[in-house]
């Protein structure tokens, strides 16, 4: 009987301990309490921690020169698709040169954003390098998620297209390195464009030209302009080149919303007419439509499609003019995937070495054959590259005249509100005036929070 009792107690104790073992709270985790104005105390401010480590590492680097690993494993959180593939191709060489191992986690955009953010509350981070979308920059730097790369002796060189570097700095410190030059381009079907007398991308010089091709395709029983209406983010991003061409933008210099302006209304009315020639489709369908000639054109990204002389589709830069010969604007929206090192990385020095390695001119040039789009003149203006991939001329132009989405910490909320109201307008649930007025008031409330 006594034995039974002891066994039962031991068993239940072990079970309880087993359950509780996984529940240890991390030092830096913010535990909210339901009392007024309570403030959680993180174990160590990430910025302070990184500065200390930087000082330590700088001395190490100056003594030992290039940082080498001792067989440790770096964990990379990357955006899945071509963006991750080009990095994965470079890793074996890095591993052998730096005596390190790497593990790659390929994630969707939303998962990448939330996983890096969730991990930031731990004192010992799970990731050593993360791909970061430019629009997350404000949110991440305001909250100490990223390591200042400049503290670890890394600076961007002059070969990188200057416009792509604008969001990489905060308080004069470098946090991000522009890696994959994603920028909106106009994806079009060559035959349907030629049917409308546009036999080359260079001739598509304005929004009017885009509309003419879309109208011509519609008249021929095809879909004209295809847009991504599946999520608020895609709805907004596909529209931004049109808005920029009309000289509008979503916020002013004081970060106040400007979505109920004359420029915005004109751009929205034009976009409504344009999308009426086609329909909303998700990304894979959009590419298939344009490639198969079921649809004439749509806004795309270089990472989606590799045009060659034999392909039925091609892409060109969006010129930013409403009509031929009219005023032009920077109208190509960046979706550049940058590289950053989380402030709580456990291998900071080596992770920065990996950033340096991946951003190296020659390494970046070598990624082109695998679908890489470096933000570098030496890659995009290379004669050999242009002979094989002439579309990089267009990409380079688009990157030079590109615009980042607003670097505000509320951007996720911002595009959700705006995209929802735009969806209502495009689906005739609200008039342009009603939708934009509603969006403006909601966004003003958001920005005042």
């Amino acid at each position: 009987m006594k034995m039974k009792k002891v066994t039962a107690l031991v068993l239940s104790g072990m079970l309880a301990a087993g359950v509780l073992a996984g529940c240890g709270s991390s030092d830096g985790a913010a535990a909210p309490a339901a009392s007024a104005d309570t403030q959680s105390a993180p174990a160590k401010a990430p910025a302070a921690a990184s500065t200390e480590a930087a000082a330590e590492s700088t001395s190490q680097a100056s003594e030992g020169g290039e940082v080498k690993g001792d067989g440790q494993t770096l964990t990379l959180a990357l955006r899945s698709g071509t963006y991750a593939d080009v990095i994965k191709d470079c890793l074996p060489d890095f591993e052998s040169k730096y005596n390190a191992k790497t593990e790659v986690l390929e994630l969707s955009e939303d998962d990448l954003h939330s996983k890096v953010a969730l991990d930031a509350s731990n004192s010992d981070g799970s990731y050593d390098l993360a791909m970061v979308d430019g629009s997350w920059m404000a949110e991440y730097t305001e909250n100490g998620v990223l390591l200042p790369l400049s503290d670890y002796g890394y600076e961007l060189d002059d070969d990188i297209i200057p416009a792509t570097t604008t969001i990489c700095y905060s308080d004069d410190k470098l946090y991000l390195a522009p890696y994959y030059g994603n920028v909106t381009v106009l994806l079009y079907n060559k035959q349907l464009a030629a049917d409308a007398d546009y036999d080359s991308g260079d001739k598509i010089a304005s929004l009017d030209d885009i509309k003419k091709i879309a109208d011509s395709a519609k008249a021929a029983g095809k879909k004209g302009f295809i847009y991504r209406g599946d999520t608020p983010n895609n709805t907004v991003v596909d529209f931004l080149p049109v808005l920029l061409s009309y000289g509008g933008w979503v916020i002013d210099e004081n970060n106040q919303p400007t979505v109920n302006t004359d420029e915005f209304k004109k751009a929205m009315d034009f976009y409504k007419e344009l999308v009426a020639t086609g329909e909303a489709q998700e990304k894979d369908d959009l590419i298939a439509s344009v490639d198969q000639g079921n649809g004439a054109l749509g806004v795309g990204w270089p990472g989606w499609y590799t045009p060659t002389a034999d392909t039925t589709a091609d892409y060109c830069a969006i010129t930013g003019a409403v009509e031929a010969g009219g005023e032009t604007h920077n109208a190509n929206v960046y979706g550049v995937w940058t590289l950053g090192v989380p402030a709580n990385s456990q291998n900071k020095e080596l992770a920065v070495e990996l950033v340096k390695y991946l951003m190296d001119k020659d390494v970046q040039l070598s990624t082109i054959d695998n679908g890489g789009v470096p933000c570098r003149y030496s890659s995009l203006q290379n004669a050999d590259v242009l002979a094989r991939y002439p579309q990089y001329k267009v990409v380079c132009q688009a990157l030079e005249g590109g615009v980042y989405r607003p670097v505000i910490s509320q951007w996720t909320d911002f595009y959700t509100i705006l995209g929802t109201e735009m969806g209502n307008i495009l689906n005739d649930q609200k008039t342009t005036e009603e939708g934009l007025a509603d969006a403006q008031s909601q966004l003003e409330e958001l920005m005042s929070e």
Binding site: M1, K4, K5, A8, L9, L11, S12, L15, A16, V19, L20, C23, A30, P32, A33, A34, S35, A36, D37, T38, Q39, S40, P42, D110, H113, S114, A117, L118, A120, S121, E139, Y140, E142, N143, V145, G229, D230, T231, P232, T235, E279, A280, Q281, E282, D284, D285, A288, S289, Q292, N294, Q410, T412, D413, T416, T420, G423, N424, L426, N427, Q429
Partner: protein, 296 residues
């Protein structure tokens, strides 16, 4: 006296042993259910944003914001519409499937059919969603191609205001009707055959047998199916998120999709928690009504 003492000790030991044995599940339940629930309730009264270091008590602000937001109210409407249609059709289709398999007398055929009919339910929701997305693609989807070949009108199923929600309901029925079938088919096995024989001798038609013997015989299981499917349908997220993202124009935004877009994606867990509590309460009320009805 001595014997009485031994009995008291033995019963005391039994109680202690029972308590010790019951302790682990209680601990697990407390850690896995009560702890997250309490924290969700606490979060719902704060402005907790994952990346921010400060957390402020905001009282009922999150709840007020939700109930004054037209899109949240719209999402409740969409969820209710989705749940009502999905549950009704899933129960009806599952019931017809069960009757059909029950009516097959060749055991081997019935066995094969049982397995085949269950396949959709065994597939992960993500696989189901992606398969249907391919089949319904406006470019390469087999469904539009077939409709074109038959000279019937084709649709952009997930981007059309009129077809997006019905397609989501249809896919949910396709996947979950087999679950209802499984439970009802098992319940039908317990209805005494003698009742059917007596009915047949009295000249009852097949429809009358179903109406007056089968349905009353499996009524508690029918109610259980409806309850389980209601709870599950109310929480629908994966299919909506993968296939429509809540669009077009919010016409497929369910409560969970709304909470994901406005509370989880932007890491505003305080706001998201308030929505989750509201959803839990709605499901709880619905479940209580069902259980009350079923017990009667």
């Amino acid at each position: 006296m001595k014997a009485e003492g031994r009995i008291t000790t033995a019963s005391g030991n039994r109680r202690r042993f029972a308590t010790a044995m019951a302790a682990p599940p209680f601990v697990i339940l407390a850690v896995m259910t009560a702890y997250p629930l309490i924290f969700t309730v606490l979060y719902s009264f704060t402005n907790f944003q994952l990346l921010r270091k400060t957390v402020k008590f905001v009282g009922l602000k999150n709840y007020i914001k939700l109930f004054t937001n037209e899109y949240f109210l719209q999402s409740i409407g969409v969820t209710v519409k989705f749940t009502v249609f999905a549950v009704l059709f899933e129960v009806a289709v599952g019931f017809i499937m069960a009757l059909f398999v029950e009516s097959i007398h060749r055991e081997r055929t019935a066995k094969i059919l049982r397995v085949l009919l269950l396949v959709p339910y065994l597939l992960p929701s993500v696989t189901v969603a992606l398969s249907w997305r391919m089949m319904l693609s406006p470019n390469y989807g087999i469904i539009n191609r077939t409709l074109e070949a038959l000279r019937l009108p084709v649709y952009n199923w997930f981007s059309d205001l009129h077809t997006a929600l019905p397609m989501l309901i249809l896919i949910d029925i396709w996947q979950n009707a087999p679950f209802v079938f499984l439970l009802l088919y098992a319940a039908m096995q317990s209805v005494p055959q003698s009742q059917y024989e007596a009915a047949r001798m009295d000249g009852a038609s097949y429809v009358q047998q179903v109406r007056f013997i089968t349905v009353p015989g499996i009524a508690p299981v029918l109610a259980l199916c409806a309850l389980l499917r209601t709870i599950d349908s109310f929480r629908i997220f994966d299919k909506v998120n993968l296939l429509t993202g809540g669009g077009p124009a919010n016409s497929t935004t369910t409560i969970t999709q709304y909470l994901y877009a406005y509370g989880i994606k932007n890491l505003k867990f305080g706001f998201g928690s308030a929505g989750a509590i509201i959803m839990t309460l709605i499901v709880l009320v619905l479940s209580c009504l069902y259980i009350k009805k079923a017990v009667k």
